[in-house]
């Protein structure tokens, strides 16, 4: 495999992982919304309610920064990162 193909394989792996986490917190947990809401979540809010107000939203923010850092590392590893900084 060429360097470029390896880079793309790794990038695809990261994408899959990112989308899996995204899927869990945007879709997966809401399949069990009614059951989960019986549980008390962070700060004492009902759990599903908390996810819709803060939880999922906050996790998406963290997920994007995590993804951006990982992708940067992959780009650096294969020497594909841009020169200069942001």
């Amino acid at each position: 495999m060429s360097k470029q193909e390896q880079h793309w394989e790794k990038s695809k792996g990261l994408l899959m992982m990112t989308l899996a986490i995204w899927f869990i917190f945007s879709i997966g947990i809401f399949l069990f919304g009614a059951e989960m809401n019986e549980v008390t979540g962070p700060f004492g809010y009902p759990l599903t309610y908390w996810f819709t107000c803060q939880g999922s939203l906050g996790i998406f923010v963290i997920l994007i920064f995590w993804f951006a850092n990982r992708q940067e590392k992959i780009d650096e590893e294969f020497g594909f990162s841009e020169r200069g900084d942001d």
């Binding site: 990112t18 945007s26 809401f30 919304g33 009614a34 906050g58 923010v61 951006a68 940067e72």
Partner: protein, 603 residues
Amino acid sequence: MIKGNFIDNLPKVYGIYTGGFLAFIIIMSIGEQMGMTAKVIGICFVAFTVAIYAIIGYLSRTAQADAYYVAGRQVPTVFNGMATAADWMSGASFVAMAGGIYFKGYGYMALLVGWTGGYVLVASLLAPYLRKFGCYTVPDFIGTRYGGNLTRFLAVVVLTVASFTYVTAQINATGTIASVALDIPFQYAVYVGLISILLCSMLGGMRGVTWTQVAQYIVLIIAYLLPVFWISNKMGAGFFPHFMLADEVSRIAELEAQFGFVKNSAENLKEVPKGLAGITKAHSAVNATPWAFISLALAMMMGTASLPHVMMRYFTTPSVKAARKSVGWSLFFIFLLYSSAPMLATLSKLSLIDPSLPTGIIGKSIAEVQSIDWYQNWNQANLMFVSDFNGNGTLELNEFFMGGKAVVLATPEIAGLPYVISGLVAAGGMAAAMSTADGLILAIANAISHDVYYKIIDPKAETAKRLVVARVLLVVIGFAGATIAAMEIQGILGSVIWAFDFAMSGLFFPLVLGVWWKRANREGAIAGMALGLISGAGYLIWVRTGGSGFLGITQLTFGIFGSAVSLVAMVVVSLMTSAPNAATQKMVDEVRVPAGRSILGKQ
């Protein structure tokens, strides 16, 4: 003042700006103490902020295509995040979101999850790759990746349909706020709003819009958060509401159980003015089926990743790396407002329905409620209504009605905050609606001027001429939007949600597969865009005209059907026709790597 190394001075410039705005708020509150009337304060807030935006718009004027279309590609990540957040959060988000949560509870929260989750798709599937591509507009990517004028043209059509649906609602919102704050008839206020919008974008294009959007974000976030924190503290609910309202949420559930949700007869409901609603759904309980929730969230997420006015914000960052980070910052700044909306809804609802609070009106006598000052004000504004349906002389939960906007607009007054806060909220709503309208009008005008005029009609046009065309289109589209907004066909054009469905029907898969599937070709893209948009629009018309729909897909989620058709059409047609040529395949390879020159180079 802000020429030369303006970019290096950004934190300082906007720091001074924020300080100045806070000082302005303090001056206004001193003015209120000294007897300034509510009306004068409202006018000052809206006029002062709009004047500032206009000055920024003027200072950002440019004669260069790169600056006009993509702000010279030098907007730092954090500032681009703020600009995107303002671009994203519309007048509807600002004024109506807390109201939606207040009335519909869990079923509406799908929008919060959808409008944030979509950014994960933007960051991972599209933004960095489109930034590497180096395009000016979204159709620019489609046209170059797939080749041919027809693909480019179809992308412009989808963009225009989606963005135009959205923009009339925004111009309408600026008109509503201008008409209330300046006390002029709505038909004229719409054009006052439009001129304010054009002042920001006409001279500087994307550059002007970027720097005004940052300024607008600062105004709107202060205007949203300050009242939420203030109300929470005043009610003794907690100094940091986001972490401390659990007791209030469970108290609401307790009261709901105590009052019960009594259903009103159709006859009684006829009395209630149009647009007002009562509390009929539980505040924090799960009141929607999993599919109803998930399908709405999914439609909004895919729509987010297909809306061109958001995507084009990431064309302005200095690098691919910066584009990715910038998506994170965008969502962070959006999160600040979105996570506060449910808190505002909670505080607003509890302060109204809890009989043990001095502001609570449920359980009081109807006559007493009708004599409260704020009730009379908002009743006059057609946003509040009570009626003694059961004739017992006491206000019950099912006898109290409110407009969705009132949660944001009236709660400060109900909680007894000074009027200066209401002026601030008006300025915030204006900022939110203006920034989104600017982004949308610019997206449409840029697509038509760059992709239709420059790329298809007259490829030899000089920069000066192209920018004249771009500006003329900006004005024409703005006026078209304002004219339709002035006609007030709310039911048809009010639905912001449709814009997401249109965008995802026609653009989601052509964009994503353009990067992630090398085999996708021109014929496939044409089929995907055309059939996606047609089937999505067809489904909407069918459901609107009494069709029953299927799979629980409603008029709010028709994009799920449209995009599914788009995906199937695109894959099938691509596989039936020949693979893209070697040059195209090489182009896709290059897009996938951040290093190296952008595909379209510097034009």
